[in-house]
Amino acid sequence: MKKLVALLFVAVLMVHAAETEVVDAPDFSLQDVDGNPVILDSLLKDGPVFMSFWAIWCKQCIKELDALLPYYDEFNSLGVNLLALSVDKARSIPQVKPFAKSHRWKYVVVLDPDNIMRDLYNVQAMPSSFIINQDKKIVFVHQGYKPGDEKKIIDTMRELFGKGEEP
């Protein structure tokens, strides 16, 4: 019973800390699957950033990225940088690029085998998505995925960065 009380206490604290004001996004400097540098500050010069943490073994992550793909061109034309951030370990790296290409993803696929990003952004559940505006603020966070959840992400991006056409 004491543990249940502890769980409830933690829950209350966490919910209290919920929906906190927007915070600055941590800087990062990683490489994409082609070895090109991906640096947050450079990306933000071109436009806001949407990034989703995924892995080859994560079914829901792949479903989320597949579901967002029809909207890629719309948001890309608005200047949004769309990143698919792979947290696959070193052992799975050879499969990441072929997997992403075979799914026809147009996202910039970034590698994070050492959990640098997962640590910096404190990701606990997969998938987790973040939207960072050009003021370097994290303006949207989403955990997990189920069919239909992509609508919230799309609506948020349209609301923040301009109205696009339906695909």
Binding site: A18, G35, R91, R118, H142, Q143
Partner: protein
């Protein structure tokens, strides 16, 4: 003392959440997340019913916080695990990391993870979803110059693993082991990556301070348009812990890939001979494993294998995936040096999967997995599993439904049996998913009764609630069958479970 961890946890949360009030909020960035988990379950005994004397509790909480100020980031992870009122054994830690990042230098002090190349020489990584946490406590520095990166590190390893409902530091008897290493990676030649590395491991149970283990090697990689090729080689020179005597080991790993729109092909080949450094249940290096279901043989001690993966999506509405993988011991009989001669212990795996979207609302998946394990799940010498699986989901807009069926037909030496499961889910976007699952086994062979349990039915209900975008609550009630679960060559026996699990994840 009993409540020490709880008091620390609450103080830690309170102090960190108050930080922005103490320091100018404009300059300080505080982020965090929390995962709290509570289980109430029956002891693993056949036909047990819940009474106040045979239930157990499990509580764990992992709080991650980071505060960044200019080029300095401070990270803290507070973990507490309080398993049961009856077992009464607790485990907890407070890890900290300080990072200084200013191009071209990065310095890390505290708890960190490090993988060199594909992990043949050093692979201390975190697999949070599998609860396998292999970290180093010490210092690491990177410097970038002329398209090259030099990394130097020193640290003490801690390999924490969750097995049979227990968290355990697998290298706790040798926690004083020390790892030092350096890695130089260069991109001086366009589209080509070259790297060289050296790792030295001093172990507490080495006979003398001079009796250390060293690993060295390098890799070469070419990335040319859709083609990619990678080759890594490592050598080990070391001493047998406790007893003394020299050990020599070597490892070779090669991979190649082709990535075109709608087509992805990956091939891998590996040959590991006495390259493993570690002990029972832990390794300081962890070479790649081609088996998709994660099963390993002996994690770098005596392994040879290959992997082939082809993903084809000829049209946007259909994707096909074929995997053919093998990992076995070496064939030590005869003098043959053939690449394709394998020993008798190991795993063969074939997977065929097709996903179709006849329209935007429907997804239909069909797959069949075949897995042959030779001398992996002793006392069974050969275990063959054939798993057909079908899944259909339909998105109605305001809600979606999903149903799946799987059958695992198992042949273990002379005993044959099968498990079959059916599940149904209904979900509302941004709100909830309710899943009902029923699994049953047609009969239980004697070896399985001794190894796991005699249970034959596992009903389960799970409700996943999105409290907000940042908070998810998952409640799971019912039974889970347990058994051998593996990821990246690391395996554990999972205890059967009958009870309730509550998980709350929060991001703030």
């Amino acid at each position: 003392m009993k409540n020490k961890h709880y008091i620390s946890l609450f103080l830690f949360i309170t102090v960190i959440l108050s930080l922005p009030l103490l320091v100018s909020g404009k300059d300080l960035r505080v982020m965090g997340s929390n995962r709290a988990e509570y289980w109430l379950f029956l002891e693993n005994k056949p036909d047990s019913v819940l009474t106040d004397s045979n239930y157990r509790e499990h509580f764990e909480d992992k709080l991650k916080l980071s505060a960044a100020y200019g080029d300095i980031t401070l990270k803290g992870v507070f973990f507490i695990w309080d398993p049961s009122v009856f077992v009464g054994k607790k485990y907890g830690y407070l890890d900290y990391t300080a990072l200084y990042q200013k191009n071209p230098v990065n310095i890390t002090y505290g708890r960190y993870y490090a993988t060199m190349g594909r992990g043949l020489c050093l692979n201390q990584y975190l697999d949070e979803d599998f609860r396998n946490d292999n970290s180093l406590l010490g210092v690491k520095g990177d410097i970038k110059f002329f398209n090259s990166t030099l990394t130097a590190l020193s640290g003490r390893p801690r390999n924490l693993f969750f097995e049979q409902n227990i968290y355990k530091v697998k290298n706790d008897t040798v926690i004083a082991d020390q790892i030092r290493g350096a890695n130089l990676e260069t991109n001086l030649i366009p589209k080509t990556k070259l790297a060289g590395r050296y790792v030295r491991i001093n172990r507490k149970n080495d006979l003398t301070p001079q009796a250390f283990t060293e690993l060295f090697g390098g890799n070469a990689g070419v990335n040319y348009g859709p083609f990619e090729a990678y080759l890594e080689y490592a050598n080990l020179l070391g001493c047998v812990p406790v007893f003394g005597g020299r050990i020599k080991g070597k490892a070779l790993y090669a991979s190649g890939s082709l990535a075109l729109s709608g087509l992805g092909l990956t091939v891998q080949y590996m040959d590991y001979d006495s390259i493993d450094v570690g002990g029972i249940g832990y390794r300081y290096n962890e070479p790649p494993n081609p088996i998709k279901s994660g099963i390993g043989v002996n994690r770098g001690n005596d392994e040879k294998g290959f992997g082939g993966s082809l993903v084809v999506s000829p049209f946007e509405f259909i994707t096909g995936e074929l995997n053919v993988n093998r990992l076995k011991t070496h064939n030590r009989t005869g003098q043959s040096t053939s690449l394709w001669r394998f020993g008798t212990t190991g795993v063969d795996e074939q997977i065929l999967k097709i996903i179709t979207h006849p329209n935007l609302q429907t997804e239909f998946t069909v797959s069949i997995d075949r897995l042959v394990k030779d001398s992996i799940e002793l006392p069974v010498k050969r275990k063959t599993e054939l798993k057909p699986y079908v899944d259909l989901s339909y998105d109605f807009g305001p809600f979606y439904v999903e149903g799946d069926y799987e059958r695992d037909m198992i042949s273990a030496d002379t005993s044959d049996y099968y498990d079959q499961a059916v599940s149904f889910s209904i979900g509302k976007p941004e709100a909830f998913v309710l899943t009902l699952r029923y699994e049953r086994r047609n009969r239980v062979p004697e070896w399985l009764v001794e190894k796991i349990s005699s249970e034959t039915q596992w009903p389960l209900a799970q409700l996943s609630l999105d409290l907000t975008n940042r908070h998810n609550l998952r409640i799971r009630v019912g039974a889970e069958k347990g058994g051998l679960v593996c990821m990246g060559g690391v395996c554990r026996w999972e205890s059967p479970f009958k009870g309730i699990k509550i998980v709350l994840t929060s991001l703030f």
